[in-house]
Symmetry: C2
Subunit: 367 residues, 2 copies
């Protein structure tokens, strides 16, 4: 059923014409048919193989959402019907990505909504395990296309997966992982194309902490903007990032050094495709920031992170990482750290070598 | 969206394989998406033109049905949501052909279910008028492709339309007309391709009775079977039509003459495509019917009917019809009458001339 959503959106654009946007309420009614088609066909296919499957739409399964059409949030799940059908011995095929409001309107959950449905329903029925079938075998210590000896992880904590996702390892939307963390739903990311076991994502355990670094993430197509000569007084940062937020730009790393002279530099990264918009947004507030302001930008950078909950109790992770990069002749541009992650930016053409060097340094390639 | 149902059915066949039938429960989940797609697109289109439209699925509109999947019957309508949306000033776009069971399963209404939904909802909200938009301008005194001066009727009673439908005038499924009659819903059949007023279908009035004949219906592709030498005792007819019913054959006219000798002839008509099946069904019971049984069949016949509630109080309608046919040199094969209809069968190649002659005789072509 690949391409079904695009087909439906094209139909909507066609009937609406180019001078109008389709009504969001009706977009949801329309898009919900995609998954409804899929669940009916899936149930039929299982029944034809001798199974006993029944399908349920989001509304039928008791998935209640708020009323924000096209990106609704799940507010409540009443899984009575799911329980009843399971108790009767059925395989329940549930439509993802959709729900209904308390007054019965059809809604869709927006980006990542299918995984989210699976995890939310697993939480609601107190499932032992939720399996997410996708096009990758699981979560790897690093992108196997970059680091040849990258290893599939047997398990990883929610926080580690979240940090890896935020630094480029796109296995699942953060939204679903956060939900799973909040409700303590263990889930396995595995491939729908083979029978290999995947990666189990769950709450951290003592044994997880003995592994210092879980993996290395990398993200290309980043850009960096540095604003020099900013007066170091309250309101400067707010003015800069307020202007960027108003332009609907998603900013990633923000780095500001301690100021000694009353003048400071602020750098931030964002996706390369947003760079021009950011530059013009900043031009608009330039005069308010002061006369000595200078803007520098650089669009050929990449981000590299090491992630691991074990680093909380291990000192020297950053130092080891920087040493590995130095040995590999890779220059570090920016540094940012969180409790379980160290991120640096490097020149884009050095990212592969940087990833391999750091992966080697922490011994991630050996089982 | 023409062809959508066929597309969905093909998908179902594909996933199910040729050795199995798709589960009927899931067929309904699948087919219901067709109308859901259409209502969303229709509402979007109206909104883009500046209207204020909202769509409702059958379930959302409170259309409750029994649980007979793929041919459910409406059991109840709770139109609270429809009323609420109408009171707010919305144009409500309702999915036809579908509903839900009292325990929330998605159902479809089967043949004629879209018209039926419109009429049932009109009854539930006590609408002043229900308009059925179709590909014909309304109900005509006869098929305009056959009788050039056929005239569009301004109004017609439910019973007249039912009798015309049963004798070949396919404007709407009888199921919908019967429902409208039962609940007294007036409806107009009109074209979606032009702005012409259509034909109003409603309960009969005094003024309707002053018109003796409303129209002439004709039906081609009929076949006739005559069984001669049938013993005229209880059980013969039951044996014949029991065998035909068991073969799932729909029998139309049945004619049996008064018997004087203890032996009678029974004739019936059916669609030409069912003739072979009927013949073999009768062969199976032939010996039980008696030794002198003979079967004759004829597949080149057509049916012609005159319909009008006025004929209840006017004698001589049949005589006038027969005279018209005689004048036109058309031989009458079988005759059957109901309270407001006289039907004859004639040779198929004479049906057009027969229709014109009868249409002329009753002056239907003049306004």
């Amino acid at each position: 059923m690949s391409g079904e959503t695009n087909r439906l959106v094209a139909l909507a654009d066609e009937v609406t014409g180019k001078d109008h946007y389709p009504t969001e309420r009706e977009i949801d009614v329309l898009l919900a048919t995609g998954e409804q088609t899929t669940i009916a066909l899936t149930a039929m296919a299982i029944n034809a193989m001798g199974g006993n499957a029944v399908s349920l739409t989001g509304a039928q399964a008791g998935i209640e959402t708020d009323g924000v059409h096209t990106k609704a949030r799940i507010s409540n799940i009443t899984p009575n019907e799911v329980h009843r059908l399971l108790d009767e011995g059925n395989i329940v095929i549930l439509a993802g990505f959709q729900g209904k409001t308390s007054d019965g309107k059809i809604t869709t959950l927006g980006r990542g909504g299918s995984d989210l449905t699976a995890i939310a329903m697993a939480a609601a029925v107190d499932a032992e395990l939720c399996q997410i079938f996708t096009d990758v075998d699981g979560v790897y210590t690093c992108d196997p296309r970059v680091v040849k000896d990258a290893r599939k992880l047997g398990e990883i904590s929610y926080d580690e997966l979240l940090e890896m996702a935020s630094s480029g390892t796109k296995v699942m939307q953060s939204r679903s992982v956060e939900f799973a963390k909040k409700f303590g739903v263990p889930f396995e990311v595995r491939s729908s194309l083979n029978q290999n076991s995947g990666t189990l994502v769950k709450e951290e355990t003592m044994s997880m902490e003995s592994v210092v670094i879980r993996g290395v993430s990398l993200e290309r197509d980043q850009a960096k903007v540095t604003i020099t000569g900013v007066k170091d007084h309250p309101g400067s940062a707010s003015m800069i990032f307020g202007a960027l937020a108003q332009a609907d730009l998603i900013i990633d790393m923000i780095v500001q050094n301690v100021s000694k002279t009353g003048i400071t530099d602020i750098s931030f990264t964002l996706h390369k495709s947003d760079l021009e918009k950011a530059e013009s947004a900043l031009e608009n507030v330039r005069t308010k920031l002061g006369d000595d302001i200078e803007l520098e930008s650089e669009s050929r950078i990449a981000k590299l992170s090491v992630v691991g909950i074990g680093m909380r109790s291990h000192s020297g992770v950053a130092a080891e990482m920087f040493a590995a990069l130095s040995d590999a002749g890779v220059n570090i541009q920016m540094i940012s750290t969180s409790e379980i992650k160290v991120t640096v930016t490097v020149a884009e053409n050095e990212i592969d070598a940087a990833a391999q060097a750091v992966h080697d340094k922490f011994g991630l390639g050996t089982a």
